[in-house]
Assembly symmetry: C2
Homo-oligomer: 218 residues x 2
């Protein structure tokens, strides 16, 4: 199903998701703090006609489905900038991780009884937040075939319809349905975000080689 | 290589590791707070002649390689009970996770810039702590073939010789060497312990089905 997708955040992750959604035939607007940046102009030039570029507010207004691709510690501010009237009732795929890299890995801003996704949900109660894709390298998010064989993407959220919309987008990215694991409500975002320190240590142990994790069942 | 293994903690995890080590031909002493418990007497009766049972102190004294299979929040106390003179210079395989289960999953006692393994290492500086096996169901720890195909066990620690000893034990448990991923020094235990909330959510989402995660590489 064709959708208008508004992406909040124009860094590497945002552009990767934008390219993936464009390949799948969707209309995409990338929302940036400074859309006039040369690298974003360049991105727009090489992208298909279904791509557009605007400030964050414009992307939020444009999208039927929104994607949070900002850095985690800037997510709440970026969503405020998007304007509550542009968010209400929409599904938001939250890919962000809040925290800081250091010599030992990654320290999270929210842990245990809280998560970035839940912070977003609680500040914007009419947004329907779905957490997914935050557990892997951006190159794998919209192109799972870059890692061979079966591997896993997790999804969670409080709203089933919003989860279905995100699952559909994952399907567009060529994630096989059997490799999508639904962990339940949005409190599972705690677990998905707390996986990130392991991801960072693995990335370092594997010398930057592309990988993902697979849940292998008996 | 034949070893004397002392297991601190006689719950399900401790007995599973004991049985695995016995199958591999090692001498094993299980250390319990109350070795007179009927279920432990029963365990001893069905175990091979290479098995013995004692208080925690006796198991620590017996072992050349020690295993921490206590509940995480009781680990430091159990190790104090073991007696510093019985720990000094030995490798300790730490399998424990400190925290509390709740309706949303699992809340860790140590996060971000600390871990149970590092707490143990810092209270017992002459112990050579290696973290491994804490990321999976106990049934898979000493019997990886219970989950089909390739899947992963992580290992970390500050002492290479101690890591080699643990890797050897993993080999005895029939973990293929290529499925053991060394994440580096003991600060990686933060990441391994912070994975546990995801494990708990997965266990619930998969309805208790046995599973493990595999790191799949490009």
């Amino acid at each position: 199903m064709w959708m208008r997708i508004g992406i909040i955040g124009s860094g590497n992750v945002g552009r990767t998701i934008a390219d993936g959604a464009l390949r799948a035939g969707h209309d995409v607007r990338l929302g940036a703090r400074m859309p006039e940046k040369p690298e974003l102009r360049d991105w727009l030039e090489q992208a298909s006609e279904a791509a557009s570029l605007s400030e964050i507010e414009g992307a939020a207004e444009f999208g039927e489905l929104l994607v949070n691709a900002t850095t985690g510690d800037g997510s709440l501010e970026a969503l405020r900038e998007a304007g509550e009237e542009n968010l209400d009732g929409k599904a938001l795929l939250d890919i962000a991780n809040a925290g800081t890299s250091n010599e030992h890995g990654f320290e999270l801003t929210y842990v245990n009884d809280d998560s970035l996704a839940e912070r977003i949900q609680s500040e914007f109660p009419d947004l329907r937040v779905v957490k997914a894709l935050n557990t892997m390298h951006r190159e794998v998010m919209a192109a799972p075939e870059k890692v061979p064989g079966d591997h896993t993407v997790f999804i969670c959220g409080n709203d089933d319809e919003a989860k279905s919309q995100v699952r559909e987008l994952l399907g567009d990215f060529r994630w096989k349905d059997e490799n999508v694991i639904d962990l339940g409500d949005l409190t599972a975002a705690r677990a998905l975000e707390m996986f990130v320190p392991l991801w960072v240590r693995l990335y370092s142990a594997l010398d930057g080689q592309l990988f993902n994790i697979a849940v292998v069942r008996a």
